[in-house]
């Protein structure tokens, strides 16, 4: 064993300055970060996308998240678990031609191309998006209510749930080659949730075609549920008579439930859901029941124990 005198290890002038440094560095760095964060917090006209002339806030007065942030901070595990990497990885992902098959318990099963979907007249809708990871955005989507599509195929009286499936394309979606999750991604809604007017099939954002990293060419957005319910790159919609087993339920059923309604009173088993950080802002804000859509959707869950059916 080699013996080393303690004084040999760190020269005295170094450790003395280091000790002072530890005292002051903390305050200095936090202060500098606070300044930097505040600098990014000033809402400006440039937060919108070029050419966007629509409303700049949601119905509660919250300003839209910038196009830059919406397109560079994406949870899209088919491409990467790193939210900043997704935008660079999607460039070669082919989304045209694309068709979406609607089948199962319906009177009139159909396959639509993306162009066909224009007949449902996509419209702008500003929704809050609350991620289960406790951050949120305000996004000006363009889409049409799912009920227009469902009415077109006419669910039979046996249909009770809707199951959505993403594309399986491991050649172009690098992580589909791994067993990170069970691929392809599957999500589901109860039929009455799917028929709700807020439930949106999204094809655009900020008056542009939907960017690939946000789920192009077509994705689901259910604004009162956590973001992971908003399945991306959908190729199949099936009307079924059982509760679909969603991908995140398969991965961790104790952490991610079927309903996944935004609820500040029901915490994720590992972290609180009481607050969230709005991307672009510094201070945390209180999370609203059903993400602020309580008036519109609370009636769907009357008599249900939302702690059990999380």
């Amino acid at each position: 064993m080699i013996k080393i005198d303690p004084s040999e290890i760190t020269p005295k002038h170094l450790y003395l300055s280091r000790r002072q440094f530890i005292d002051s560095a903390g305050a200095a760095v936090v202060g500098a970060l606070a300044l930097a964060a505040c600098k990014g917090n000033v809402p400006t006209v440039t937060t919108a996308a070029p050419g966007y002339t629509g409303p700049t806030s949601d119905e509660l007065g919250a300003p839209l998240t910038s196009f830059q942030d919406i397109t560079n901070y994406n949870n899209y595990y088919e491409f990467s678990t790193n939210k900043e990497s997704v935008a660079n990885l999607v460039t070669d992902f082919p989304i045209s031609p694309w068709s979406i098959q609607v089948s199962g318990l319906v009177k009139d099963p159909k396959t639509y191309t993306i162009e066909d979907l224009q007949k449902f007249q996509p419209e702008p809708r500003i929704y809050r998006l609350r991620c289960v990871e406790a951050w949120s955005m305000v996004i000006p989507w363009i889409g049409f209510p799912l009920h227009k599509l469902l009415d077109d195929v006419q669910p039979t009286s046996d249909a009770t749930y809707v199951q959505f499936t993403s594309i399986y394309d491991p050649k172009n979606m690098p992580l589909q080659g791994s067993n990170l999750l069970n691929w392809p991604y599957v999500e589901g809604l109860r039929l009455d949730e799917a028929m709700h007017d807020l439930t949106l099939m999204v094809t655009g954002m900020y008056r542009e075609d939907l960017p690939k990293q946000d789920g192009a060419p077509i994705r689901l957005v259910v604004p009162w549920k956590y973001g992971f319910k908003g399945i991306k790159a959908i190729v199949k919609i099936e009307l079924v008579n059982f509760q679909p087993d969603s991908t995140w339920m398969q991965a961790a059923s104790n952490e991610y439930g079927f309903y996944a309604n935004v609820n500040p009173n029901v915490d994720h088993p590992r972290w609180s859901q009481a607050t969230e950080r709005r991307i672009g802002e510094v201070a945390r804000i209180k999370t609203l029941m059903f993400n602020g859509y309580e008036k519109e959707v609370a009636s769907l869950y009357v008599g249900m124990d939302l702690k059990k059916n999380f």
Binding site: P6, E8, F21, G26, A36, K39, G40, N72, T81
Partner: protein, 205 residues
């Protein structure tokens, strides 16, 4: 394997100090330029936490580097690495309390009781006595107990990795890789393995 150069011996600790400090201006620059992702506070939290963990693991690597590979300069920076790890841990905690939770005591206590936060808090608190006693006159004053006290760093390393594991979503493998590295570095300390490996590498020279 032995590096005898006097210049290297002189410069190695200084380079380590510079390397340990550089992430701070780098972080501030990134924050200032708006290059800290769409969620800069979370990014700053993750980055300071990760640097704290990496430095803690590096401090754990110093002893095997000396014992097995005969890289003696590692011992001269071991304590500095631990102290810098404590510095980044303090920053990590300060950002959590101030920027992330805005000094809201109710929110902070509500969060601190969760397993991920509790494990991190314990790891951080355990680092405090080690950071304090890493400076003179404590090593001499504590004598044999100094080493006993500083053996806590083994457990702190494991807690730090567990803290990271508990905070990520399913499927994120990175924290598990750090945990494997820590276990590997701890296994290298087991006397039979240490003796075998140091004999093996001496034989190679």
């Amino acid at each position: 394997m032995k590096i005898q150069s006097k210049i290297f011996d002189q410069w190695f600790p200084i380079l380590v100090h510079i390397a340990c400090l550089l992430p701070i201006p780098w972080l501030i620059l990134n924050a200032w330029q708006g290059n800290l992702t769409a969620d800069p506070i979370r990014a700053a939290l993750l980055r300071t936490g990760k640097i704290a963990l990496e430095l803690l693991i590096l401090s754990l690597a110093c002893t095997p580097l000396n014992n097995i590979f005969g890289f003696k300069p590692a011992l001269r920076v071991r304590r500095a690495l631990g102290d810098y790890s404590f510095l980044y841990t303090s920053l990590h905690f300060a950002i959590f309390v101030s920027l992330d939770y805005g000094f809201d005591l109710q929110l902070i206590t509500n969060e601190l009781v969760r397993p991920y936060a509790l494990v991190g808090l314990i790891a951080g608190l355990l680092l405090i006595p080690l950071a304090i006693t890493s400076f003179s006159p404590w090593p001499k004053r504590l004598g044999k107990n100094w080493k006993r006290l500083h053996n806590l760093v083994y457990g702190i390393n494991l807690l730090a990795a567990l803290h990271f594991i508990l905070v990520v979503k399913q499927g994120v493998v990175e924290p598990y890789l750090w945990l494997i590295l820590i276990i590997f570095l701890l296994v290298l300390r087991l006397p039979p393995i240490r003796h075998f490996l140091s004999g093996f590498f001496k034989h190679q020279e």
